[in-house]
Symmetry: C2
Subunit: 223 residues, 2 copies
């Protein structure tokens, strides 16, 4: 997999979770990435398949997903579940926020979901190299297991209760629905509490990564 | 100015703040935009200068900025100031969150800053058509005027006090620094309180639009 951008390549190296086979860097970036093969910006754009490479790309091993049980076994974890999020930019942005806030990990379904693609790596500023991310077959089943493990399931929904009136102590699983459509019915039913952000404007809905940032930080503050 | 994307075009029409001279729509979008001139996706891409047009673009009047004094004159306003934010995506994303949260407006400097470009309109999902946005010559001077008007100035800074321990009652001005570099010294000195989000991860910093979302909602909850 060819990842690109300064932060993603730097963090892939620093985290050491997946082998970095080869790095290519253009003039402006070569000093930062020792051992990189010199390349033109055009060559890097061709390798990366995008112009958003900031002069560096790297051939790295496939992304290493963790097992969901590893996340559930933690003490009072904060786990963010993305229910069929489609945009790798949103996946990456939420991973970045979750990592910065100290969340334990992210869970995504193994179908009909954005994955940890190079553009998600870029949007995460490399946070996906540290944050554990699990893929599960069925989100509702995973939530059932999380409940059985004693954690509380909070679903983000416009008609939920005000998010800042909720007690977030203990193990927390936050479920964010897809852009535009929200939580699917079976997922929604599995939630213990639905939480809403006040919407006082004319525009219908917040961006899912902005909503996730507010909710993740509210949950961090609660523990 | 050619704006593009379903939400931006829809909200520009609905808000009615700036004349819409002409709309072009491709097959999938023409039913939604009555009066649009039929066009191919290729023609729309050429007009919009991007493939991210979702089958619709419109020729609209220049963006109408408001006067900063109009924002300062409001009762206990919540004003978000972007100190040399460079990325129109971040400007748009913050505008979207601010509008949804019910903030009174946004202030940007008239130089060295992202402006309300078509890509900012797109990233805002059309929120910029409702949210008042002002451009000022000098951010530090504007903050001085805001202080004189009795409002409190909160600057986002990694070394500030924990954001969730602060009293946000009264008029609030939140200042977000540029991506990567943060608040400039003179702007920082002008702030009454510096506020920080806890950073518990390995990645250095939150994305500015995620940080803004958390802080804006904290300030909304405080009033």
């Amino acid at each position: 997999m060819i990842i690109y951008g300064r932060n993603p390549v730097r963090e892939a190296i620093a985290a050491g979770r997946r082998p970095v086979k080869q790095i290519w860097a253009a003039k402006g970036a070569i000093a930062e990435f020792g051992g990189a093969r010199p390349a033109s910006n055009e060559e890097i754009a061709k390798l990366a398949g995008t112009d958003a490479h900031q002069g560096v790309c790297a051939d790295v091993a496939a992304y290493h997903y963790v097992g969901a049980h590893e996340l559930l076994a933690r003490k009072d974890p904060l786990i963010v579940v993305l229910d069929e999020i489609q945009d790798p930019q949103n996946l990456g942005a939420i991973a970045r926020t979750a990592e910065a806030a100290g969340a334990d990990g992210l869970v995504i379904p193994d179908r009909r979901s954005a994955e940890v693609t190079p553009s998600a790596c870029k949007a995460s500023a490399g946070a996906v190299e540290y944050l554990p991310i699990a893929r599960v077959r069925n989100i509702a089943d995973f939530l059932g297991e999380a409940k059985a493990a004693g954690h509380w399931i909070y679903g983000a929904a416009g008609d939920g209760q005000a998010y800042d009136t909720v007690d977030y102590s203990g193990g927390r699983v936050l479920v964010m629905g897809a852009e535009g459509t929200g939580l699917r019915p079976r997922v929604r039913e599995t939630c213990d509490v639905l939480v809403a952000l006040p919407q006082r404007g004319r525009i219908e809905s917040l961006n899912v990564s902005a909503a996730a940032a507010v909710l993740v930080y509210a949950m961090v503050a609660g523990n």
